[in-house]
Structure formats: C-alpha cells, structure tokens
C-alpha cells in the first residue's frame, strides 16, 4: 500500500500491510486533524485498522475491499 500526504489528507491506496501502520501513525501525529482518505484502499491490515481506531481521525472515501467498505468503515471515524 502507499501512505502519502495529499494536501491535508493522508491517502491510503491499495492493500495495506503491517509495515504501513508506522508511517500512518507518524503522519497523524505530525498533523492532528488530518483526514484519512480510504478511497481505493484495502484490504486493510489489522495494524492499520488499529491506528485508525485508536486515533479516530476523520475518514472519507470508500475502501476498495468490499468487506472493509461494508464492515470496517462504519467502525472508523470520530466519535462512533
């Protein structure tokens, strides 16, 4: 997967691996309040899901993986 900063958003693309959790965490620490764009992302690794759950950044977009879109997406985002 690629984790990259696109303006104010962090874009996740393609399948996520365990190694992607650390850069994602670093980008979220650097800029609290950044939105995570999941459009075209997934399947997401549990390590990445865990970062999104713990920090609860706003998320947008629809993951490419149907399981992630149907079951994980509703659990992510602030204050759910």
């Amino acid at each position: 997967m690629s984790v990259r900063l696109d303006g104010d958003a962090i874009r996740l693309d393609g399948p996520a691996r365990v190694e992607d959790a650390e850069p994602l965490l670093a980008l979220l620490h650097e800029g609290p309040g950044r939105t995570v764009d999941l459009d075209g992302a997934g399947p997401l690794h549990a390590a990445v899901v865990q970062v999104l759950l713990a920090l609860r950044p706003p998320v947008r977009g629809t993951p490419a993986d149907p399981f992630d879109a149907r079951w994980l997406l509703p659990l992510l985002g602030p204050g759910s």
């Binding site: 365990v18 959790a21 650390e22 965490l25 979220l28 620490h29 399947p43 997401l44 690794h45 549990a46 390590a47 899901v49 865990q50 970062v51 759950l53 713990a54 920090l55 993986d65 399981f67 992630d68 079951w71 994980l72 659990l75």
Partner: protein
C-alpha cells in the same frame, strides 16, 4: 473422521515438519534469524491449533517449546546442541502424539508424563529457569455473549428472522501476533457470511497513540454460519478465540457459502481411476463390433471406426488424468528422514551430513507412501553399518561427518531413488563368509557368485553383517524387508559398493501405480487375491489322489510328489470340508508347493496398495485392492505365507 480433524492433522504434521526443517538448518547455520523465526512461527501456530482438541499435554509442551524458541530468537539463550535436542525431541513427540491422536482419537496414557518431562527439559534451557507462564485465556469469560447480542441486536434480528444458523465469536489476538505474520482482520475477513462486527481495545490506548507493532484489538462478531464452519477458519488461532452459538429458532441451517478449496477423499479418486480403466477396457469391445460391421456396411464401419478412435483417445486421456490425481511429490516420503537420520546418528555417536534432492519428482501415492519405510530402513542401515565413527573416518582421511546423499529423478517412466554414502563400503569376500556362516544359501552357490551377486546377498532373508545386533538396524529382518517392500510396489533394488569408499543403493520404482494381475480364490469362506506371478498352474484333483504324508498331505503331479497345504489353514481360518474334488494351485519358484483352495474366481488386474493401518505388519499380506463394487480384496504374499506356514 471429521473434516476439521483431518485438516488439523494434515496441517499440524506440516507444521512439525516445517519446524524440524528450520531446526535442522540451524545446525549448519546456528542463529540464522530467518530459520529461528520460521521455527518459532511453526511451533506457535501448532500450539494455537492444538487448543481445538483435547490435547492439553501437547499444548503445554509446545508452549514451553515456543518460549524457548522465543528466547533463542531474542538471543537470550545460545542455540547449542542441548537446546536443539530438546526442541527436536518435542517435535518427535508431537509427531507421535499426532499419529496416536489420528489412530485412537486421544493421546496415549503416557502423554501427560512425557509432556511434563519435555516441558521440564525445554524450560531448563531458559534463562533463570522461568516457570511456565500461564497461557492466556482471554476469551474464557462466558459473559461476553449477552453483551454482544444486545449491542448487535439490530443486525442479528433480520438474520434470525430468516432462520439462519448464527454463531458469535470473541477473538483476542495475542499482542505479538503481528510479528508472527498474523493479520487478525484478514482472518475475520475470510470467514463466511458476517452479520455484525465490533472492534474494541484490549487495554486502553496509550495517550500518545498505539504501538504500531503490538496488537491491542478485541474482535467480536456474529456470522451466519455454524460454529464448525467458523472453527475451520479460526483453527490456526484457536487458542485466542471463543465461539458460541447464537440461540436461534429451530430452522434449517444456512447452506454453506464457502467453496474455496476442494479436498477429495483418496478412495473417491481411486474409484475414478478404476472407472476410467473400465472405460478403456469397454472401448476395446467397441473396436470388435466395428470390425464386425465392416463386413456388412463398410461406409458405416468407417464412420464408426473414427468415432470409436475418438472415444478411445478421450478414454485414455481420462485414464491418464485420473491417474495424475494420484500423483504426489516424493518429498512426502523424504520429509521426515533428515530428522530421523539425525536421531539415529546421535544415538550411535556418529556424525552425518545428509543431502536430499529431487523431492519434487512425482509418483503414485501408493508408491510414495510405501517408500517411506524401506527408505528409512536403508538410511538407518547406511548410518549404522556404512558410516564409520568420526575418529575412524579422520584416520582414513575422510571428513568426520559421513556424507549421505538421497536423490530422486525420473528415468523413462520410472522413478530412480538413489541413496549413497561415503562410508566403509562392503567387502564381497566378507559378505560371502557371513552368508555361509548364516546358511543363507549353500556354500557352492555362494562361491559361484560374482561380486555383484555377493553384494546382493545382504537382501536375503536372515542375512545381517553386523557383528552385534543393534537396536537400530541389525535385527536381520531389515534389508530383506526393505527389498520386499520395494518389490510389492513393483520396484527393484540394486546395490553397488566399493570397500572403503561407500555404498550406493538404487531403487527403481514405477512412476504410476503398479497394476498387478491377481487370481481370486476362496478360502475359509472368504475371497482372496493371489498375484498371478506366484502361480505356476491350477488343477482339479480327485480327493482319492491325495495321500497322507507325515502330519500333512501330498499328491503326485507328473511324477513328482508335492506337499499339499490348505490355504484356509495357513490363514488361520477353518477350511471347508473337501468334496470329491480338490481345487489346488501350484506355486512357482524353486520350492514348489500346492495350496488347496475352496474355489477359483477369475483373473483381475488391480491397483495393489501396500497394507495400511491395522493390516500393516500382518504376515503373508502383499496388499489390498479395491474391487469394482467398492469392497476391498486382500492380496496374499504366497512365498511369505508358505515360509511361515512351512516353518510352523
């Protein structure tokens, strides 16, 4: 056997094998981190999956093995021989336990004590002799279910209304699961038909965000699937998961939606092979009809002949394809040998370097499965009798560790398996002397043998060149049993040796299944098969022509007196009373004998399979064959049966 159990057994054996491969590789490359990780992961996964079944002593011992491997990985313990021995002993025991569990559905009574001893030996290697850490039982609490059902009621209600079987799970992945290559979400994603999913944290998230390398998740979910289906998908993390059925109104279960792989019972593949064979034979009948039509209507005959040829090609292709389903790589027979060879060498105070090549060469399953025992015997024999003690080797200018090479290759439709060592070799003169001393053959015949024939003497029954009988291979029943096993697979054994330089044993085996012609006979009211090769002729004889001879009976056939034995008696069955006519068959070979049977069936070509399970080790049995109606035919090994019956 349930599919879950079957899959567990297959995977567990693979994990034992994978761990053993890594440990053995570590001996030549101590501390190789990739191998240590590999062994650790395999033992960890194995420990996780044994939690599925009632295998507590095995689980506890594996847990200690996992702790030791973890300490090795962290560098807290040196990967010395003692640690490797303890770990390999654990794998050996695990393999034996799995065999026992497969056979009896439970561990042997001694397993608890053996497991504790292994555990103690493994923990003794740990720094500070750490006591057993209690295995975490994260999901044991039964009170998670009501809360889950209440929270997810909205999602569960519609599925329940459809009358679907529902099961809930609580999965607390171990904190280090990311290191082990597990992705808990991927495991959940692979389960069939999710209905509800809930994620939470095991411990409060640290203020500065989660540690990206430690899993802190608790996963709760409901699926429209049975517990058994879920258990299947969760089997590798079974120790971290709790399952519970969701109470549901009685209703037909949801049809299974998972159809990823296809595991087919070997017997069904065999049935397909048999059908394909019958099809090939049935097509021969068609060719005969085409020839008859040709006399009356040549045009029709030509068209029929074309169509018949097409069917013939298809039937043969189908036969080949069906036989191909039975092909498995020889690696299956080779895989356990390095560990067993190491054990043998260790027990004898010898050092060996075993190389294995050609594991990917494929042969019929019956051949591959039947090859393990003779190969193990030949290998042990090479270590015991071929390879010299390290000091002797050094004095002879050889490396301390004896080299043994096991390889396989395809040769014109045959599989050649070669086992060669650089040990002391065999001396034909010594073999001749030993053969005479043991009366393996008469002295004149032995003297007349050239060196190649003299080497072949080691395969004669009752021959053993070891000065003392050892526990490893000197029981005097080994080499001849190995040759008999290879013979029964339709193969041949050849031996080459040079004193001081080593010995090479070559097995030539059919790549496909051996089709054996058998004659079916009735004895003691049962049907048996006898390989056609073993029968010189069959005859009917008036009962009056049979004469008492000592304690037995005999008759005269073409001027020669032959002893007459009853097949039913040899098999320990009650013979049917003899009528006015005796039906008998005369065996081939040098020492002719006649066997009386109660009736002759017909001639069949069968796929002879080596005896398995309970039948294994049964005297006088060459193997079993599946008949067209699905019943099994026991095929007898006449020379063996007569040797035993004659001695009694």
């Amino acid at each position: 056997m349930s599919e879950l159990l079957e899959q567990f057994l297959v995977e567990s054996r693979e994990l034992v094998q994978a761990a053993a491969d890594d440990l053995l590789a570590l001996e030549s490359a101590p501390g190789d981190p990739a191998r240590l990780d590999g062994a650790f992961r395999a033992v960890h996964t194995l420990k996780g999956s044994v939690a599925l079944f009632d295998l507590a002593p095995m689980g506890a011992a594996l847990h200690a093995g996992e702790d030791l491997l973890d300490a090795l990985r962290r560098g807290a313990v040196a990967p010395d021989r003692a640690a490797m021995d303890a770990l390999l002993a654990l794998l050996g025991a695990s393999e034996a336990w799995l065999d026992a569990f497969a056979a009896d559905g439970r561990l042997p009574d001694a397993a608890a004590a053996d497991g504790r001893a292994l555990e103690a030996a493994l923990r003794a290697r740990l720094p500070g002799n750490a006591p057993a850490q209690p295995a975490p039982l994260p999901a044991a609490s039964p009170d998670w279910l009501p809360a889950l059902l209440e929270r997810e009621a909205a999602a569960i209600a519609p599925a329940r209304a459809e009358g679907r079987t529902l099961a809930a799970l609580r999965y607390v992945p171990s904190p280090d699961c990311f290191f082990l290559g597990d992705d808990p979400i991927a495991i959940i994603r692979a389960l069939p038909a999710p209905v509800a999913l809930h994620l939470a944290q095991r411990e409060p998230w640290p203020a500065d965000g989660p540690d990206p390398f430690t899993c802190n998740l608790v996963i709760e979910a409901v699926f429209a699937a049975s517990e058994a289906e879920l258990r299947q998908g969760l089997r590798l993390v079974a120790d971290q998961v709790a399952l519970a059925p969701v109470p549901a109104p009685a209703a037909p279960p949801a049809p299974s939606s998972s159809s990823r792989g296809l595991r087919v019972d070997a017997a069904r593949v065999d049935a397909l092979v048999d059908l394909a064979e019958e099809l090939v034979v049935a097509r021969n009948g068609l060719a005969h009809l085409v020839a008859r039509v040709g006399e009356e209507n040549p045009a029709l005959a030509r068209a029929l002949a074309e169509s018949e040829a097409g069917i013939g090609r298809l039937a043969e292709r189908m036969h080949r394809a069906a036989l191909g389903l039975r092909l498995v790589p020889l690696g299956r027979a080779f895989a356990r040998l390095p560990r067993l060879a190491r054990e043998t060498a260790g027990g004898l105070g010898k050092e060996i370097a075993l190389s294995v090549a050609g594991e990917a060469v494929e042969a019929d399953r019956a051949v591959v499965d039947g090859l393990f025992d003779p190969l193990l015997h030949l290998l042990r024999n090479a270590i015991d009798h071929g390879i010299e003690p390290p000091e002797v080797r050094e004095a002879a200018g050889k490396p301390r560790a004896g080299r043994i090479a096991l390889s396989a290759a395809r040769e014109d439709g045959w599989i050649a398996v070669t086992l060669s060592d650089d040990g002391r070799g065999m001396d034909p003169a010594r073999l001749r002397a030993a053969a005479k001393a043991r009366g393996v053959a008469d002295d004149a015949a032995i003297d007349a043998m050239d060196d190649a024939a003299a080497l072949d003497l080691v395969f004669r029954p009752g021959f053993s060149t070891a000065g003392t009988v050892t526990a490893i291979s000197g029981r005097g029943v080994g080499m001849d049993a190995a040759r008999a096993a290879v013979d029964s697979l339709g193969g041949r054994v050849a031996i080459r040796s040079a004193p001081g330089e080593g010995t090479t044993i070559r097995l030539l085996l059919p790549a496909g299944a051996a089709v054996t012609g058998v004659l079916t006979v009735r004895a003691g009211g049962e049907l048996y098969g006898i390989p056609v090769d073993a029968v010189a002729e069959t005859a009917r004889l008036p009962a009056s022509a049979i004469l008492p001879l000592g304690a037995g009976e005999a008759f005269v056939l073409r001027g020669r007196t032959l002893p007459l034995l009853r097949l039913a008696g040899l098999l320990g069955l009650k013979p049917a009373p003899r009528g006015g006519t005796a039906r008998l068959l005369v065996t081939g070979g040098a020492e002719r004998a006649a066997l009386e049977v109660e009736g002759f069936g017909g001639r069949l070509d069968v796929l002879l399979r080596p005896p398995q399970g309970l039948l294994r080790g049964l005297p006088g049995l060459a193997g079993t064959a599946l008949l067209g109606d699905g019943s099994a035919l026991l095929v007898l090994d006449l020379p063996d049966l007569l040797a035993r019956g004659g001695a009694a």
